[in-house]
Amino acid sequence: MNVIEVKNLAKEFQIKQKRAGLKNGLAFLLRPEYKNIKAVDDLSFSVSRGELLAFIGPNGAGKSTTIKMLTGILFPSSGHINVLGFDPTKERQKLAYNIGSVFGQKPQLWYHLPAIDTYNLLARIYELDQREYKKHLAFLVEAFEIGDLLNTPVRKLSLGQRMRCEIAASLIHKPKIIFLDEPTIGLDVVAKQHIREVIKYLNEKEKVTIFLTSHDAGDIESLAKRTIIVNFGKIIFDGPTDTLKKNYIKSKIVELVTEDPIENFQFSGGTIIEKGKFDIKVELDISKNSIDKLLSFAVENFNIKDINIFDPPLEEIIADIYRAQKL
């Protein structure tokens, strides 16, 4: 069952062209020039219930624009959107009862008050049955481990704690879909891990459909089974996250630890990323040379203590895809 259906979605903006200087400024006032920008260009995809998908792309790719259209904040120029059976353009408030969102830059929690106050207010805004709300809140508090944070003013919480409370806030009304925008930004490794676990739990146990935007490859790798990449308003990849890695890997990273100090390391197709006295990390362009040739070379020339072979970070893979698009 599809919870989101998008067909030929498009969004054009007309931006006034401003140019520097007083003379141009005057001309601009009298006869403004408009530039047409296609932020979203013929997008089509669907999402079924319970999916956890990553929706990524470089800045200006049309991600936020698409999400705004899905949530009813922005009107499309053309195309069809159906979210949970609603047309977001026409039934925004009705849809709002069933979706939740967390936007890093636009917090829901009232800054000077404890989170519990915002939760109680939200319960009333969403007109929830008080008993059901209390039960569900208890569940969220346990899942997010925010029990002792509830009564502290939000401004006194750390970023990680605040994020957990924000995501909990977006779930007060048991939405069927939540849109998470950069949920782990600025968090340390432990906090990131914590948030990811909660998100996973929500998706797996509660069957909440999750629409995730993140620049953090770790988020994408650990959470999203499916990834959609947008650039220049178009979808350039839509498939399992694993495929993304497999099909787009152009290099491998080889880490070597040696007995003797490494002076020189020259291998055709290999770029040194890191070098210490007894260890070295080389990125090998696999179109130029092969892994086993590199390994043979290494074994022949050095006393190898340890070898590790990695895939390049996902962000590199994605960055490569973005770059390829530009050409």
């Binding site: 936020s64 904040i73 009333r124 805004i125 007109e127």
Partner: protein, 275 residues
């Protein structure tokens, strides 16, 4: 749970729900401000001193010139009572509306679009001006210098304050909503507000000619200052109906302009849109 939600979706939110929610929002705003106890107290006191200063000025004026075309110090007291009362009502219940032009320019309206409640209502209640409680207190006190001190007069005073508050609110919504169409109107909206406020502080009998026309139209000081004081002095059902009629008309204009502006915002063609 979802069954209960489904019911919600069929019906629109009731007025009763909005009223109780309004109460909750004001409470939260006040609690939020109370976090800074000293600042809270200073703002309230500061506003009271501010208002006392205004009254002192006109007291001195009327000491030298006891009557201006029939207008005396008592009329100024009544004027101040009504204007501070209406001002504080708007500042307590709808202070967020003052920020609307800025929110529009910064794309902050998005937050309000994500929640299932009326957007204008949310914007208005997003903030409460704490010093307005000082104004309210002052308004009630200065009322006692106005000369009319019966129960009916007090009731009339409350009624007039509420109606003028609605007109004031409409004015703010209209001027701030212009930002939907021009992208940047914050400073201008503030200036218009101060201009309107400016008109309401003077003996209203001083206005004639073009200035009077201005107070009847674009800066409706006539309806929020001169007319209510007149009604307060000499109750007249016709004048009262005129005021209520003006409040209703400007209300519909305000809602219309806001809705139109919001649609424009949602089509995303503002100059400062962030993709």
């Amino acid at each position: 749970m979802s069954q209960l939600m489904a019911d919600k979706i069929q019906k629109d939110t009731s007025l009763g729900t909005y009223l109780s929610l309004t109460w909750e929002m004001v409470k939260m705003n006040v609690l939020s401000a109370m976090e800074y106890r000293v600042s809270f107290a200073m703002q309230v006191i500061g506003m009271i001193i501010n208002d006392i200063g205004l009254v002192a000025l006109w007291f001195i004026f009327f000491e030298k010139f006891p009557e201006i075309r029939g207008w005396t110090f008592r009329d100024t007291a009544a004027l101040f009572a009504i204007t501070t009362a209406q001002f504080s009502i708007v500042m307590i219940l709808a202070n967020g509306s003052f920020r609307m032009a800025r929110m529009i320019a910064n794309g902050e309206i998005d937050n309000f679009l994500s929640l299932p409640k009326n957007v204008l209502w949310q914007i208005s209640l997003s903030k409460t001006e704490v010093s307005a409680f000082g104004d309210l207190l002052f308004g009630l006190v200065i009322y006692f210098f106005s000369g009319n001190l019966s129960f009916e007069s007090f009731g009339l005073f409350i009624l007039l304050s509420v109606i003028t508050a609605v007109i004031f609110f409409n004015f703010i919504v209209i001027t701030q909503s212009i930002a939907f169409f021009t992208g940047n109107f914050e400073e201008a909206a503030v200036q218009l507000f101060h201009a309107l406020l400016g008109f309401t502080l003077y003996p209203q009998t001083a206005f004639f000619g073009i200035l009077k026309i201005i107070t009847l139209t674009i800066l409706p000081a006539f309806f929020i200052a001169a007319l209510p004081v007149e009604i307060f002095r000499n109750f007249n059902i016709f004048s009262l109906s005129l005021m209520i009629g003006f409040a209703a008309i400007t209300f519909f204009i305000a809602i219309f302009v806001f809705k139109k502006g919001l649609r424009r915002y949602e089509s995303g063609n503002l100059i400062n849109i962030k993709i």
